[in-house]
């Protein structure tokens, strides 16, 4: 038994992934070198992808790896490098007072959230280990192209607009 949960492979892998995510996140907040931060970022995103897969959402997990761990991480690294001014160090940190204040706020917030999580009875089905009748890819495809067709199309519109918009904004002005 581990934190009141049976010590199964699922549980173990969850805690390992959670450890990875939290550790990477904290490192991200404390490290200063760009490449170290990039590695920590990749760690967070990959951990989250692992959680998705653990939850049976293999397609979402793969998308997470492709989009976040792949594309966005690389993009961020590029942006960091582009905006660096010679030196390799991070720009000056916020004042300690502000950091402590923010920490206090965040801790209070998280503490309440955790308390609420613990104090609430969540109605959920524990019967089926795998709740999905079909492979999730098929289910997602049906859902996307039947139920959520219009949001899906709108999303493609937003992506196009964002693409064009970012090009326009970032373009060098003559």
């Amino acid at each position: 038994m581990f934190f009141g949960m049976p010590l199964t492979g699922q549980t173990v892998s969850f805690f390992l992934l959670a450890l990875l995510i939290i550790a990477s996140g904290v490192m991200l907040m404390t490290l200063t070198k760009v490449m170290h931060m990039a590695v920590a970022l990749a760690g967070v995103f990959l951990g989250v992808a692992g959680i998705f897969i653990l939850l049976g959402a293999d397609f979402v997990g793969m998308a997470q790896i492709l989009v976040y761990a792949g594309a966005i991480t690389i993009l961020m690294v590029f942006a960091l490098m582009l905006t660096q001014k010679g030196d390799d160090t991070e720009s000056p940190e916020a004042s300690t007072g502000r950091s402590l204040l923010t920490l206090l706020g965040v801790v209070v917030f998280t503490g309440i959230m955790l308390l609420v999580l613990r104090g609430t009875t969540w109605p959920y089905s524990q019967s089926a280990v795998d709740p999905y009748t079909q492979p999730t890819v098929v289910l997602i495809a049906q859902s996307l192209y039947h139920t959520y067709t219009i949001p899906f199309e709108l999303l493609s519109l937003i992506l196009t607009a964002a693409l064009v918009g970012s090009v326009v904004i970032a373009r060098k002005e003559d």
Binding site: L101, T102, G105, F109, I112, V116, G119
Partner: protein
């Protein structure tokens, strides 16, 4: 011809509109022609109407419904009675001459066309007031007359005195108008109609007259007290009290308009206007309206002896008061103005003692000789360019025609036979005497003596002696001399329209029964009147015939002279007891409004403004600060929500 009666007021209105549109582009001669021809045409029509009335009696009113308020209908219209037929003739005659005279007097004024425009409107308003058959319509024209007098008295508005005089004239007459308005509403509440005929005779306006012959005017009394026309009296008034109250309220309006005590103060100040305006106001239009109002409402006053007594006493007191003030004034126009106030007092006195015919008769003769006096004064002022009596003199040789015209007017005013004023004034005094009001008779007689004295004081100072100025006075052009001549003739002969032997006007006015006229010849009273007038003239000659004598007389009379010279301090008195307290109250209220009410509003707005300006600096532009605050806000909300939800 009476079907065309509506043309009488409409023609001057047309002239007004024409001048309003095209006045600036027209030459002075053209402007004069338009206005004078319009009013002259009105005069011709009026004359025809009067002849017709004399031959066939009054005509029924022509009305049309104007305002339908539930069951009540207010109709507008016009009618021709003997009274207003005569008024129409008189007003249009005098107005036409004054308009003609203005051609010479106002020559070269920058706003010449505007002047004629206002005059035309003034004449229109007065003619409309005379011809209307309805109290509400009457009131509208009444106010229009007031507005025109304001415009004309303040015509030279760049002079501060003229602007102040215009305001004074308007405000003081408005005080009286409030009384008239309240009286009008009371009458409407009592009779549910505004038509004169329905009020007085309980008769539908549209039906032809059946009362034309021998119906007593006192019918109104019976009608008002018991008749079928009267409705439930407002405020539970007894019939007699109702009649007295309405009559007094109506009389308040007349007091304001006709410059009777205690609202007489505006008329002398109105002398700041151009002299033709003074002539018009004093003779034909403005002040005549008040007397006309009392005459038009005469059945109402007959029904209330108390109200009649008030009218007579106010009239008599005004007559003597104004005459006493007139004794000492230095301004030629002011003297004549006080004589107008005094003469109007006579008319009120006549109407008050029931001498209806005499009052109207005096109104008519007064219109002629007072217009004449003002126009001659205008001619004199035009020639010597001053209004101070003591800077004139010797004009008898320099301006013979004006001299003769003024003399005719002065003799008429003094009541010397056979001039017009003698007959009408004597009739009034006789009526006062024969009605048993001996005190009023004596007061009238003293006022007559003063009148003769002050007008001949003016005459001797202006025309007698040697000229004291350095200008070269001469007669005005034809436009000035023709009206003077015409009016001088009328001032001389108008008295014969109603002598005890040939009471034409009395007969003319008697279409509704013998109203207050005693045709008996009283030789004794006649002789007394004439002697008193001659005595006044003699005293004036004695005082002003030799230099220095008048000063000695003034010194002997001591404080009486000061009192008269300062107009019995009425202006100062009103300033103390009315103007200043009201001004103090207004200033106190203004203080409250400005500092307390406005202050509260400003405090709120200032607080909001200061708060906003202070909070502005919290807006640092640092997005992370905003985010931090938001985070704490969300945390607090979460705590509250969790507390309510019972999780914590």
């Amino acid at each position: 011809m009476t079907g065309l009666a509506w043309l009488v007021p409409v023609l001057p209105l047309a002239a007004y509109v024409l001048l309003l549109i095209g006045g600036r582009r027209l030459a002075e001669g053209a402007v004069t022609s338009i206005a004078v021809l319009a009013v002259a045409a009105s005069f011709v029509i009026s004359l025809a109407i009067m002849i017709q009335v004399a031959l066939h009696g009054p005509q029924p009113a022509v009305t049309f419904p104007w305002l339908v308020l539930g069951s009540a209908t207010i109709s507008f219209g016009f009618e021709v009675t003997s009274l207003n037929a005569m008024m129409l003739v008189m007003v249009s005659f005098v107005s036409a001459l004054v308009l003609l005279f203005s051609r010479g007097y106002m020559r070269g004024d920058a706003r010449f066309a505007r002047f004629y425009q206002y005059l035309s409107l003034f004449v229109f308003a007065m003619l409309g007031l005379v011809i209307t058959s309805n109290l509400l319509e009457f009131y509208i024209f009444w106010e229009l007359v007031g507005v025109c007098s304001y415009l004309l008295v303040g015509f030279w508005y760049f002079k501060p005195e003229a602007a102040a005089a215009a305001k004074k004239a308007f405000i003081v007459t408005r005080i009286g108008d409030v009384g008239l308005f309240v009286g009008m509403i009371l009458l409407y509440l009592g009779f549910h109609t505004m038509n004169f005929d329905t009020i007085f005779y309980g008769q539908a306006v549209s039906s032809p007259y059946t009362m034309a012959h021998g119906a007593p005017a006192l019918l109104f009394a019976a009608h008002a007290l018991t008749g079928p026309g009267i409705h439930a009296l407002p405020y539970g008034l007894a019939p007699a009290a109702f009649v007295t109250l309405t009559a007094l309220l109506v009389f308040v309006g007349a007091v304001g308009k006709s410059a009777q005590f205690p609202l007489h103060v505006w008329l002398p100040d109105a002398m700041e206007g151009p002299t033709p305006v003074s002539a018009l106001i004093h003779a034909a239009t403005m002040v005549a309206a008040g007397v006309y109002l009392v005459a038009r409402m005469f059945p109402l006053f007959q029904a209330s002896p108390a109200a009649s007594d008030v009218v007579a006493i106010v009239g008599g007191f005004t007559a003597i008061l104004a005459a006493l003030i007139g004794l000492t004034q230095h301004d030629i126009k002011r003297v004549i103005a006080y004589s107008t106030v005094s003469q109007l007092g006579y008319m009120m006195l006549a109407l008050g003692v029931g001498a209806y015919v005499s009052g109207i008769f005096h109104l008519m003769t007064h219109a002629f000789f007072k217009a004449l006096l003002f126009l001659t004064a205008g001619s004199v002022i035009h020639a010597v360019e001053t209004q101070d009596l003591f800077e004139m003199g010797g004009l008898r040789k320099l301006m013979p025609l004006t001299n003769a015209a003024f003399l005719a007017g002065a003799l008429a005013l003094s009541g010397i036979p056979p001039f017009a004023g003698f007959w009408s004034k004597d009739e009034i005094l006789s009526a006062a005497f024969s009605s048993g009001n001996y005190v009023l008779y004596a007061v009238g007689l003293i006022a007559a003596f003063c009148t003769a004295f002050y007008i001949f004081r003016v005459y001797f100072l202006t025309f007698g002696g040697e000229y004291k100025g350095d200008r070269h006075p001469h007669e005005g052009g034809l436009a000035m001399t023709i009206p003077l001549t015409a009016l001088a003739v009328m001032a001389t002969v108008a008295g014969f329209f109603n002598t005890p032997w040939a009471p034409w006007i009395a007969n003319f006015l008697q279409d509704r029964g013998a109203v207050g006229y005693d045709p008996a010849v009283n030789w004794g009273l006649m002789v007394v009147s004439a002697v008193v007038g001659l005595a006044g003239i003699g005293l004036a000659y004695y005082a002003y015939g030799a230099p220095g004598r008048a000063q000695r007389m003034a010194q002997k009379s001591g404080f009486l002279y000061t009192l008269s010279f300062n107009k019995f301090y009425f202006d100062e008195l009103y300033d103390r007891i009315v103007t200043r307290p009201i001004r103090a109250i207004a200033e106190a209220l203004g203080f409250v409004d400005r500092w307390i009410i406005d202050g509260l509003v400003r405090l709120v707005s200032g607080g909001v403004y200061t708060g906003g300006a202070g909070l502005r600096y919290g807006n640092t532009g640092q997005i992370q600060t905003y985010g931090l605050v938001t985070l704490f806000g969300v945390a607090v909300l979460l705590i509250i929500a969790a507390g309510i939800g019972g999780v914590l």
